[in-house]
C-alpha cells in the first residue's frame, strides 16, 4: 500500500522541501513587511510607499509555492466520499483519472498559461505601480508552482497505476464503520 500524502521519489521530496522553505520564508517576510507598514504609519507618521504593493504581490508567490508544497502532501480539499465507496480497483482507476486531470490542468493553465502570462507582460514592459518591478517576474510564480504540481501529481499517477493506494494512513480521518 502506498500513502499518497507522502512524496517518495528523491526529486519530489527535495522539491517539496524547497517549496516549503520558500513559502515559509515568504510568510515571515510578509509579516515583517506589513508590520513595517504599520510602524511607518503610526510611529514615523509617513506611511511607507512600497509595503502594500509588495505584500499583495508576494501573496501570489506564497500561494503558488505553498500551494505546490501542499499538493505534495495531498492537502487540497476535495470530495472523496463517492470515490471511497468504489471497489479498490475502480478507486485506482478514478485516482489515476483525477491525477491526469490535475496534470492536464496544471500543465495547460498554470505552466503554459503562466508562461504566456509572463511572456506577454514582459513583452509589453508592464511594471508594478510603486516598485516598478516587471509584472512578468511577479507572475513567474504561476508556472513555477504549476511545474511543481505537475511533478507531484505525476508521481501519484504512477503510484496509482502501479498498485492500490492507502488513503487512510492518517488518524484524523477514521473510516466510518
Amino acid at each position: 500500500m502506498i500513502d499518497p500524502t507522502v512524496p517518495r521519489w528523491r526529486m519530489t521530496r527535495a522539491a517539496m522541501r524547497w517549496f516549503d522553505a520558500a513559502a515559509g520564508a515568504i510568510m515571515a517576510a510578509l509579516v515583517l513587511i506589513v508590520l513595517w507598514g504599520v510602524f511607518t504609519r503610526f510611529v514615523l507618521s509617513a506611511a511607507s510607499w512600497w509595503t502594500e504593493e509588495s505584500a499583495r504581490l508576494l501573496l501570489i508567490w506564497l500561494t503558488m509555492l505553498g500551494g505546490a508544497a501542499a499538493w505534495a502532501r495531498a492537502e487540497h480539499l476535495g470530495v472523496d466520499y463517492f470515490a471511497q465507496k468504489l471497489h479498490p480497483d475502480a478507486q485506482r482507476l478514478v485516482a489515476l483519472t483525477v491525477e491526469l486531470f490535475v496534470i492536464a490542468f496544471a500543465a495547460s493553465v498554470l505552466v503554459y498559461g503562466g508562461v504566456v502570462l509572463v511572456a506577454e507582460t514582459l513583452r509589453m514592459g508592464q511594471t508594478t505601480a510603486a516598485l516598478e518591478v516587471p509584472m512578468g517576474l511577479v507572475y513567474l510564480a504561476v508556472p513555477l508552482g504549476g511545474a511543481g504540481i505537475v511533478l507531484f501529481s505525476l508521481e501519484r499517477a504512477i503510484a496509482a497505476w502501479r498498485g492500490p493506494l492507502d488513503h487512510h494512513d492518517d488518524d484524523t480521518a477514521p473510516r466510518a464503520v
Binding site: 508590520l35 501573496l59 503558488m64 478514478v94
Partner: protein
C-alpha cells in the same frame, strides 16, 4: 441552456464526484467553458484571473490569522482557557460540557480555526470528560459542535473570504455581526448538553478539582443585569453608546474577575488578542490586514516572551505550516474567482436567482430552500469552497429578498458550520473522532441533540435578522434599513 453553461456545470460536477481537488474542478470547468465560448486564449485568461484574484491586500489577513492562531495554539493557550472556563462554571452537574463549550468559543475566536479548536480543546478535555463518567462519543459530540462557533465569533477568516466574494461588504461589519449569533449557537449547545447530559457524569460527591460551588449562575445574572441597565441607560439617552461600550467592558471584567480572578489573569493575555484586533478594526485605526499582522506580533511576544512555551526554533515550522494552510485557501479563492468570472459572463447567477424567486412569492419559502440547499451542500463540501462557490449564486437572490449581505453572510456561515460536523464529510467531525479515539458511527447518535440545537440557532438567525444586524447597526457599521 447554452452549451458552454452545460459544459461548465457538467464538468464541474463530474470532477467533484470523482474526488478531484476542488481547485482543479473549478479551474478545468472554467477552462472548458471558456474554450467552448471560443473566447480567445483560455489558458492564459484562467491563469491571469487566478493570479490577479489572489493579489489583494484585504486577503492578506487570512495567512496572518492562521499564523497567529498556530502560534497561540502551540503556546499553551488551550490550557489557560480551560482553567478560566472551569473557574467560571465551577463544580456542577454537566459542568465539563459547559467548560468544553465555553473554551471552544474562546479558543475558536482567538485561533479562528474550528479544527484547531477541536484538536486542542478536545485533546485536553475529552480524556477529562471520559474520566468523569461522560461517554466518549458524547464528549466528542459536544466539543465538535462547540468548536464551530469560533468561525462565527470574530475574528474569522471565513468572513474575510465571504467579504471578498460578496464584494463591497465590510469585514468590520461582518465581524461585529457574528458576535451575537456565535453566542447564540454556544448557548444552544450548552442547553442541549444540559438536557442530554448522562446522569452518571460528574457525580458531585466525587473529588473534583475545580473550586467548589458554581459561580455560573451569579456570573450570568450579573451580566444580564449589567446588560439591561446599560441598555436602558442608552435607550433613555442617559449615556452615549461609546460610554456604554466602555462601561460594559469594564463591567464584564469586574464580574468575571470576582468570579475567577486568578484564572482570568492567566487567560487575559490570550483574550486581549481578540480585543486588540477587534478594537483596532472597529476604531478604524487598522485595516483587518494590519490588525492580523499585529496579532502575529502580539502572539509571538506573548508565547515566546511571557508564557515561554514557544522557542524561536519552532518558528520556521509554524511559518511553513501556516503558509501551506493559507495557500490551500488562496488557490481555491483564485480558481473560484476564475470560475465566477465565467459564470457572470454567462449570467448564471441571474438565471439561478430568477429560478429561485420563481419558486414562490413567499420570501420565507425561498430563504428556507436556500438554507436546505446549503445544509445539503455542507454535508459533503468544506466551508471555504462552499462559500466561494455559492455566495455569487445565492447572494443576488438574498438581496432581492431584502436581506442585508452582512446578514446573509452570517447565516450562510452558521449554516455551513453544521455541515462541518455531519457525515459523510465533516472536517470537524473527522478531527473530533480522531482526537477522541472513537468512530463516526458512534458519535452520530449523541450528536443528534446538538444538531437540533444548531438548527434551532440557524432558524433564529435566518428569520430574525435583528439578532445579527442589531449590533453592527448600533455601532454604525451598516446603514440602518431605510
Amino acid at each position: 441552456m447554452e452549451p458552454s453553461t452545460l459544459i461548465l456545470v457538467a464538468s464541474f460536477l463530474l470532477l467533484l464526484v470523482l474526488g478531484a481537488p476542488i481547485v482543479v474542478a473549478l479551474g478545468v470547468s472554467a477552462l472548458l467553458a471558456l474554450a467552448a465560448m471560443a473566447e480567445a486564449p483560455a489558458c492564459y485568461t484562467v491563469a491571469q484571473r487566478m493570479s490577479t484574484g489572489i493579489a489583494s491586500f484585504p486577503l492578506l489577513a487570512i495567512p496572518f490569522f492562521v499564523l497567529a492562531g498556530a502560534i497561540m495554539g502551540e503556546g499553551g493557550m488551550a490550557r489557560r482557557l480551560v482553567r478560566f472556563a472551569s473557574a467560571i462554571v465551577g463544580r456542577r452537574p454537566g459542568g465539563l460540557a459547559y467548560v468544553s463549550t465555553i473554551t471552544c468559543m474562546l479558543f475558536g475566536a482567538i485561533s479562528g480555526s474550528a479544527t484547531a479548536a477541536v484538536s486542542s480543546v478536545g485533546g485536553m478535555l475529552i480524556p477529562e470528560m471520559v474520566r468523569k463518567g461522560y461517554s466518549r462519543p458524547y464528549s466528542v459530540a459536544v466539543t465538535t459542535t462547540a468548536a464551530t462557533t469560533g468561525l462565527v465569533i470574530p475574528p474569522s477568516n471565513i468572513m474575510i473570504v465571504y467579504a471578498l466574494v460578496a464584494g463591497g461588504v465590510s469585514v468590520a461589519a461582518l465581524f461585529v455581526a457574528g458576535i451575537v449569533p456565535g453566542v447564540i449557537i454556544g448557548v444552544a449547545i450548552m442547553i442541549a448538553s444540559r438536557l442530554t447530559c448522562p446522569p452518571e457524569a460528574e457525580d458531585p460527591s466525587g473529588a473534583a478539582d475545580g473550586p467548589a460551588g458554581s459561580p455560573l449562575v451569579r456570573v450570568a445574572g450579573a451580566l444580564a443585569l449589567l446588560g439591561v441597565c446599560l441598555f436602558l441607560a442608552v435607550y433613555s439617552g442617559l449615556l452615549s453608546s461609546s460610554v456604554a461600550a466602555i462601561l460594559s467592558g469594564v463591567g464584564l471584567l469586574v464580574v468575571l474577575g470576582l468570579a475567577a480572578g486568578r484564572e482570568l489573569l492567566q487567560a487575559a493575555p490570550s483574550l486581549l488578542l481578540v480585543v486588540i484586533v477587534l478594537g483596532g478594526i472597529l476604531r478604524g485605526s487598522f485595516s483587518p490586514t494590519e490588525a492580523s499582522a499585529i496579532a502575529v506580533a502580539y502572539a509571538l511576544v506573548l508565547t515566546i516572551g511571557v508564557y515561554r512555551e514557544i522557542k524561536p526554533a519552532d518558528l520556521p515550522r509554524l511559518c511553513v505550516r501556516s503558509a501551506s494552510t493559507s495557500a490551500v485557501i488562496f488557490l481555491l479563492i483564485g480558481a473560484s474567482q476564475a470560475m465566477s468570472w465565467v459564470m457572470t459572463n454567462q449570467a448564471i447567477p441571474q438565471a439561478v436567482s430568477d429560478a429561485m424567486l420563481g419558486l414562490s412569492d413567499n420570501p420565507a419559502v425561498v430563504l428556507l430552500s436556500i438554507n436546505l440547499l446549503l445544509l445539503f451542500v455542507g454535508t459533503f463540501m468544506d466551508m471555504t469552497p462552499a462559500v466561494l462557490i455559492f455566495t455569487p449564486i445565492f447572494l443576488p437572490v438574498a438581496v432581492e429578498l431584502g436581506l442585508d449581505p452582512v446578514h446573509f453572510g452570517v447565516m450562510m456561515i452558521v449554516n455551513l458550520c453544521i455541515g462541518l460536523c455531519t457525515p459523510p464529510v465533516g472536517t470537524c467531525l473527522f478531527v473530533g473522532c480522531g482526537v477522541g479515539q472513537t468512530s463516526i458511527a458512534q458519535v452520530v447518535r449523541p450528536m443528534l441533540p446538538f444538531f437540533l440545537a444548531m438548527l434551532a440557532a440557524l432558524a433564529a438567525i435566518a428569520f430574525v435578522p435583528e439578532l445579527t444586524m442589531w449590533l453592527p447597526h448600533a455601532m454604525g457599521l451598516v446603514e440602518s434599513p431605510g
